[in-house]
């Protein structure tokens, strides 16, 4: 992650052998060179197939190129288009709206439930297995499942009819105003259980004497939550919000199979347009610029989460 100043690197202080005679020093130097040979294969694959393409994308984002004819320099035109184009800008906005449904609502719900229900629960493992399930599944299959649930005859409409809300039933993913929210709700479904089980497990580790201390000071449940529970869950909140935010911004697979950006581009996300621009519309420069902007959005959000949840020095 770009947040190198706070990233904790695993490592140990190397043990320095006693006297540093010239012979030993030369031996140590050759050992440190051999050590690089262990890293070389991983580094070459990583540089060749991840870092070089990433740099190349940044370069391509400054070009006008259709993938075939010689490219021309575009300067910042492709970036300007993201702010002015009626299609590109909204896709970035849609991704940020999805963060609300994938990350903010599940985390808030999880915290609320934890405050309400704190304590040890038996059978936590079973709940954890169920709540983590959406995390391991291919999103394409999750998307197909929800296409069916949101279908005219699907489970969502069936449920609404069962409680007498026939009037609001519709093909949710085809609704101009509600498709993005319907898509977001898939994220809420996938992430709420995850957040809740992480927070409840974290809250079990809190020393109960801290609560008693608040109670002696005359603090109520709200004070108890903000003074003890919330700070104690710092680590879990970081984990949950990073997982859910990245999932929201990497929603390409899900959108591709559910709405493919429709209806009328109401659910386009950057990943989808990167794919479409580069491989269907031969606008390589535009696609590259959007990919760079998406990366910046990811870095900004993840860095912000880490800053906000960092322990105050």
């Amino acid at each position: 992650m770009a947040d190198t100043d706070t990233a904790v690197l695993p490592g140990r202080t190397p043990v320095r052998p006693g006297g540093a005679s010239p012979v030993r020093r030369r031996g140590r130097r050759s050992r440190r060179l051999i050590a690089l040979l262990y890293i070389a294969p991983a580094a070459l694959v990583y540089l060749g197939f991840a870092i070089w393409p990433a740099i190349h994308t940044v370069y391509l984002s400054f070009l006008n190129w259709d993938g075939i004819l010689p490219a021309t320099w575009a300067g910042f035109d492709n970036y300007r288009a993201i702010f002015t184009d009626s299609m590109l800008g909204p896709s970035v906005w849609h991704a940020i709206v999805l963060i609300l449904f994938f990350a903010v609502i599940p985390c808030a719900l999880g915290l609320f439930m934890t405050a309400l229900l704190q304590g040890t629960t038996r059978g936590m493992t079973t709940f954890r297995v169920i709540f983590f399930l959406p995390q391991v599944l291919p999103l394409v299959a999750v998307g197909i499942t929800w296409r069916w649930l949101y279908n005219d005859e699907g489970l969502v409409n069936q449920g609404l009819r069962a409680i007498g809300l026939d009037g609001v039933t519709r093909a949710w993913l085809g609704d101009y105003n509600l498709a993005l929210i319907a898509l977001g709700f898939i994220g809420t479904w996938a992430m709420s259980g995850l957040c809740m089980v992480l927070f409840l497990a974290g809250a079990q580790k809190i020393d109960t004497s801290l609560y008693e201390a608040v109670a002696i000071d005359g603090g109520g449940p709200v004070r108890r939550f903000f003074a003890v529970t919330l700070p104690a869950l710092r680590g879990e909140i970081t984990i949950a919000s990073v997982i859910t935010t990245i999932a929201a911004l990497a929603s390409f697979d899900l959108v591709f199979v559910t709405t493919n950006g429709g209806p009328a581009n109401q659910t386009t996300v950057p990943g989808l347009l990167v794919y479409r621009l580069a491989f269907n519309e031969s606008n390589i420069g535009g696609a590259a610029a959007l990919a760079v902007v998406l990366t910046l959005v990811v870095i900004v959000f993840v860095t912000a989460i880490r800053r906000l949840t960092r322990e105050k020095p």
């Binding site: 983590f132 394409v140 489970l155």
Partner: protein, 274 residues
């Protein structure tokens, strides 16, 4: 204390309610998959006759023999390759004090949250020039590279947690660095390697964007990417689509249920790196 009992019951009810909400969609597609192909069905309805033949039909219609084979070939390449490379690099970074080790670690950490969108366009054009599109090798190398930051980080954390005395003792005995890795560290590192291998398999199996870009040949696509196009062809045949989705979900669910501890620890600790 009656309130504690009430709280425990309430907690249990809420958790159970949410668990049902998570599982209900799966119940819905399992039921849908068992209806006769092309049938008009609704949300949760028990089929009059159980049509197991949907699975065979979906298998044939989506050409899953080829798709699953491609998935397995790619996973069989990515998982060992990425494991070995990440283990070697992490071993060196954590214990051998290489020149520029700290900078190299930072370099790997930088790649942790690179979205695939950032690399996929040049990968396509560069690999096409090298003849590595429509090639298992191309996808294998690209996935190994994308998974490398996490693997190096994961194994480096693991090796750094091993007591230094163990390594010193082996060094004093005159063991070479490779012998120490193979004889001293590997035997106690299998749990960390197993977790990493399972995550690698899952990411490789689930990978979508990279595969649809690098594999234009439909027969060489992986199971999820084939499924992504199958939706377009059979978008109205819900039973067939549901059966196809369950085929793609199946292997990963089985692995998850067997190794749930590894998956959960990998996923949660993977986020700390953020």
């Amino acid at each position: 204390m009656n309130t504690t009992r009430t709280a425990a019951t309430a907690r249990y009810l809420v958790l159970t309610g949410m668990a049902v909400a998570v599982l209900l969609p799966f119940v819905s597609i399992v039921l849908a998959a068992l209806h006769p192909s092309g049938a008009q069905i609704s949300g949760l309805s028990i089929p009059e006759s159980w049509s197991w033949s949907n699975f065979a039909d979906a298998w044939r219609a989506a050409n899953f023999s080829n798709l699953v084979m491609s998935s397995l070939i790619i996973a069989a390449g990515v998982v060992p390759l990425a494991l070995v490379l990440a283990t070697f690099a992490a071993y060196s970074l954590a214990t051998l004090n290489p020149f520029g080790g700290r900078a190299i670690s930072v370099g790997f950490v930088l790649g942790l949250t690179l979205p695939i969108e950032l690399v996929v366009i040049p990968l396509y054009f560069d690999l096409r020039q090298l003849g590595l599109t429509n090639s298992y090798l191309g996808v294998i190398l690209a996935e190994a590279a994308l998974f490398m930051p996490f693997g190096v980080y994961w194994m480096q954390t693991h090796f750094a947690s091993i007591p230094g005395e163990l390594l010193e003792a082996a060094r004093v005995d005159g063991a070479r660095s490779f012998t120490i890795l193979a004889r001293v560290l590997m035997p106690i590192s299998w749990p960390a390697i197993t977790t990493l291998g399972l995550l690698y398999f899952m990411w490789s199996w689930n990978q979508f964007l990279l595969v649809i870009v690098l594999m234009q040949d439909p027969d060489m696509r992986t199971a999820p990417s084939g499924l992504g196009f199958f939706v377009g062809q059979y978008s109205t045949n819900i039973p067939l689509l549901s059966a196809a989705s369950l085929i793609v979900i199946g292997p990963i669910v089985v692995l998850y249920l067997i190794f749930q501890r590894n998956f959960v620890s990998g996923i949660t600790q993977g986020a700390i790196k953020g």
